[in-house]
Symmetry: C2
Subunit: 271 residues, 2 copies
């Protein structure tokens, strides 16, 4: 078993934010599978006096459908506890009067029902997976290159994630592709954007130093949380790779085998 590293943040901890895919469950065919011990770990956190929120860059399903899947897997979780990029994107689009061309997974489209999509003046990409065809990438590109000042939103900037049949490219890779094609810098909505984490903290009514983020993605979960002043702990499930421990810029405050171990550490010593 690899070493466990744990932060010394002690009794100040008042809340925990959990990443979802790779921490609670592994995705794949159907609903995927719960990671052993994680259903019970969530139950223990809920029974404690810690505040708990879930923060995902999931953009392959509407938040309602996504939470229903987690419930089917056995998790005690509700829509109000989950922060995902699409609702945040809708808020930004409306606030700035933008009409998106969407390159997202079909199942995410309902999140954008209330947004005017005619005569698009920006592009929003999510984890479109198989919809990242050459044809669809060209369509998004042509919208962007036809704008006087291209505006590109990306629902997260992850590089890849793990499904049961292997690693798969995430939205960040296609974000970089369109950035290069159009000489534009995308606006990221989701982790690791500070504004996204801050929304969660606001909802918890906690300060960043009172909260720990637990995720499998060193850059987007751990690094993003640290940028906001939170402790960031990485689990060795999901997309974790041993080389993460030699990352040039991000060093996790803690590294544990899985969520079950993290929660035991939190509850035994209150951090």
């Amino acid at each position: 078993m690899a070493d466990t590293v744990w932060p010394s943040c002690a009794k100040s901890l008042k809340g925990v934010i959990l990443d979802m895919c790779g921490v609670l469950y592994d995705s794949g065919e159907g609903d995927g599978v719960a990671i052993p011990g994680s259903i019970e770990a969530v139950r223990k956190l809920k029974a404690s006096d810690l505040k708990l929120r879930f923060c995902t860059n999931e953009s392959q399903a509407s938040r309602d459908k996504f939470v229903a899947k987690l419930q089917r897997l056995g998790f005690d979780i509700s829509v109000e506890e989950v922060f995902s990029p699409a609702p945040a994107a809708v808020a930004v689009l409306k606030q700035r009067g933008l009409r998106p061309h969407l390159l997202v997974y079909d199942a995410l489209l309902p999140e954008f029902d209330s947004v005017n999509k005619s005569d698009p003046n920006c592009v929003v990409i999510g984890d479109a997976a198989e919809k990242f065809s050459y044809q669809n990438m060209n369509k998004a590109f042509r919208v962007l290159i036809g704008l006087e000042k291209p505006v590109l939103f990306s629902l997260g900037k992850g590089k890849y994630y793990k499904e049961m049949d292997g690693l798969k490219l995430d939205v960040g890779v296609y974000m970089k592709a369109l950035e290069y094609a159009c000489d534009v810098e995308a606006e990221v909505i989701g982790k690791p954007a500070a504004s996204f984490f801050q929304c969660v903290l606001n909802d918890m009514v906690l300060q960043s130093h009172e909260v720990m983020m637990i995720g499998d993605d060193l850059v987007n979960d751990v690094g993003g949380a640290q940028q906001c002043g939170m402790k960031g702990v990485q689990v060795r499930t999901g997309k974790y790779r041993p080389s993460d421990q030699n990352h040039p810029t991000v060093v996790a405050d803690g590294t544990v085998d899985d969520l079950a171990q993290a929660v035991d550490m939190i509850l035994s010593g209150r951090c």
Copy 2:
């Protein structure tokens, strides 16, 4: 008509290198169409005492097939005069004992017939167009991420090109995607790599200051040639866009309407 700008390189000019797509012809269905005046312009250059070579990042067909297409369009051109990235890549792979996973257009595969492709230890991407599916990108990504030190070759780094039905994403965009996914910097084979231009100059037995490059791509044709010490002239055909004239780093030595005008300028004043 837009202004003509022309370099004052005068009588020292001894050779000309022509980009092909967007200068000689516009691609599209079938063979595409010759750009008006370009067939006659090539004929005039060949009748002069200037040395002439063609330099393309074309990677959708083998060099033989590609040259045959140009001949069908009416151009006086032979395989020996054409420099394209795939033969250069084959030379590099053999020299370094590398076995590629190929993500290229089907019609380019014959160029790699002589290369060992078993148990790949690098990835080569070309302008794969419709073959840039999510599935194929994942396959290339998994080869790279599985290597201790990922090695990625890209046949050019163009952002987009123009076909008769509109702008289309080029290989450079997918190169950037895989670079980001794997934290690797691709080795570019083709324009604007200096080593590629130098091969052409060696074949011409000319010094760079004796040669002019004419292309429609400001960065890859004009900028690449200038980096090697050549004059770089841009034509207002193909992928030319008015905003090229405000590019932050590359300023063409000359800008003309099309190849016909460039050749008339060259031959009337010998530059």
